[in-house]
């Protein structure tokens, strides 16, 4: 009975059709396409405002070469934000709980930042492997540590998003199961548990937004070092 709590994370299929495709394509429907009108509708204006806010925030610490990444980072942010938030609705599937999706996004983008750095400014990029002011006897050990830290970045990036969302969804399912089970037995405890569920849902909304932002922020930081 305990292990059935993980069934919500199985990649959904209906008669052999992978439904994860539908879950991933749904945010596309929520993004309005700009019309040829000068003054657009409120949804477009809201979207424009939010994208401007996000892009400016992400592009501030980057130099001119990094501004080429504006589209990819902003659209990644919007995709992850929408997938995470939509997953909090009842009976939805969250594709970002799948390690495959997060690793697919994290690994190539991290590798792109690394290769950009190694190609354009190899000395500076490799120089990041040794922090300034390191005592001489510690240099070999620190280079090994920094290299390990560099190579583990894509794994950390992918697993961070997966684990946060999986844990959140699991907690919501556990506490809601407890609430429903306790309702006929101890109604007052059930009401208390439902209050905890409400607070947890608010926390999960925050976590959904923060995790999307952290993913893209870390990528922009890795880009900063290498461009």
């Amino acid at each position: 009975m305990n292990l059935s709590f993980f069934d919500q994370f199985m990649s959904p299929q209906l008669l052999g059709i992978p439904l994860i495709m539908l879950a991933m394509m749904f945010p596309t429907l929520l993004l309005p396409f700009p019309t040829t009108r000068w003054i657009t509708n409120r949804l477009s204006t809201l979207q424009l405002w939010f994208i401007h806010l996000t892009t400016k925030q992400l592009m501030l610490p980057l130099n001119k070469g990094g501004h080429k990444w504006a589209l990819i980072l902003t659209s990644l942010m919007m995709l992850l934000l929408m997938i995470n938030l939509l997953g909090l609705l009842p009976y939805t599937f969250t594709p970002t709980t799948q390690l495959s999706m997060n690793m697919a996004l994290a690994f190539p983008l991290w590798l792109a930042t690394l290769l950009t750095g190694l190609r354009n400014q190899p000395t500076t990029s490799l120089g990041h492997l040794l922090p300034e002011g390191t005592p001489t006897p510690l240099i070999p050990a620190l280079i090994l540590i920094e290299t390990t830290s560099l190579l583990i970045r894509p794994l950390a990036l992918g697993v961070r998003l997966t684990a946060n969302l999986t844990a959140g969804h699991l907690l919501i399912q556990l506490i809601s199961t407890a609430t429903i089970t306790l309702l006929p037995i101890l109604p007052t405890v059930s009401i208390l548990t439902s209050l905890i569920l409400l607070l947890l849902t608010i926390l999960e909304i925050a976590v959904a937004m923060i995790q999307a932002y952290v993913f893209v922020l870390l990528l922009s930081l890795y880009l900063q070092e290498n461009i």
Binding site: D7, S11, T28, P34, M78, S100, L105
Partner: protein, 55 residues
């Protein structure tokens, strides 16, 4: 943990990139602000008035 089941991994990875690159990015492209070109002046020089041809 069903996320570690390797069967749908390839499909999920491929789908996520295809949807990201071919659906989301083009939809957001018109909304991403760009900097003004570096070879252009930020302020235009004011033009003097000229005689309209029909005056």
């Amino acid at each position: 943990m069903p996320q570690l089941n390797p069967t749908p991994w390839f499909l999920t990875m491929l789908l996520s990139w295809l949807i990201f690159a071919l659906l989301i990015q083009p939809k957001l492209l018109p909304f991403i602000p760009t900097n003004t070109p570096s070879n252009k002046l930020t302020q235009t020089t004011p033009t003097l008035s000229w005689n309209w041809p029909w005056t």
